[in-house]
Homo-oligomer: 227 residues x 2
Amino acid sequence: MTDDIRLIEVKEGILAQNEQEADQLRASLRAKGVLLLNLMASPGAGKTSLIVQTVQSLAPRLRIGVIEADIDSSVDAETVTRAGVQAVQLRTGGFCHLDAAMVARGVEALDTDNLDLIIVENVGNLVCPAEFDTGAHASAMILSVPEGDDKPLKYPLMFTKCRVLVVNKIDALSIFDFDLDVLRERAGQLNPELTVLPLSCKTGQGMQGWIQWLAEEVRAHQAYKDA
Amino acid sequence: MTDDIRLIEVKEGILAQNEQEADQLRASLRAKGVLLLNLMASPGAGKTSLIVQTVQSLAPRLRIGVIEADIDSSVDAETVTRAGVQAVQLRTGGFCHLDAAMVARGVEALDTDNLDLIIVENVGNLVCPAEFDTGAHASAMILSVPEGDDKPLKYPLMFTKCRVLVVNKIDALSIFDFDLDVLRERAGQLNPELTVLPLSCKTGQGMQGWIQWLAEEVRAHQAYKDA
């Protein structure tokens, strides 16, 4: 009976085209020594806070651009611009993810000849953004303590796509039922290479680990280019 | 300070292209007198059950095609094919929604010269599918009783995009805290034109209302074409 069913693969074509655009973007920024970092998280996990803190720590040493994709708002780009970096707001108007073509439009609006690092704040969502290669050289995700340590079980793809997992709001660990060791184990089963960095954007605890990780990524990226 | 922020509208271009493709698909099926119905719901709400029951009731009178977009599975298309209709499976591999181009590929695989009605089972998700015009002449959604009567508050866009709301699993009303009047009021505030049809695919209660609604849609669509 299954002879009557025609199967059409719609995903492959779309992803193949996106992959091509992502590879082009990655290559063009690599040639310029610019690291493109894709930052993903649920709404409210602290993406903008982390970006603002990162910019304040690194902007003296690195030239940073930020591409914001927060839904129907330009508040985030304003916050970041006040921290003294180039910022572009992609108005996605309710879209659930960014693809490489959208990120490329944001990159085009930045002066990439004078940048070391571009941080893309992806749409607040743990599902759809993980499906699409943005053209970034590395992806990071933020999980905040109030969201729970079970998220690797519910959103496994996101955890496999990231190189680093920032666990934000650790100042609230005492009032939530959140076990960092359990999280590390669950995330590690999905992605043994994942770097886990607990921190609090609010108190500053652990921020140094993130800043060092990111600065080292930029250094390695530029060394690769210069090699 | 906001002078430094460049705003890029990424949504409009994508939606404009999709809208164009949707309009083309709608027009081509209208010219043939084929009604394209987009069926949306959360996973488990009963999309496939409703389609199977619909096909069993209407297939003697109407020539029906079904486009299934269930994630990573061909079980649904097999079920529907057994009910004696043309079926196409779009393998979306985790995509969160269908757009008009994807639906058009499914439509192309059907013998539209010999159909009165095509039902598209959209991806199981109450958010993203509501954003994209599929090219359908009408959209319907299913909300099942166990999901709760608060869904219009959480997913308002979906309720505004549909012409009919099927409330499935009403045989379970007595064991869930679900108030049909409250649901009608909440949905009606978002969309005063919405037709609400409570039913149970399991017991058959209320199915006749849905079948009549759909048969009348097809009749009106074909009368419009012939006029």
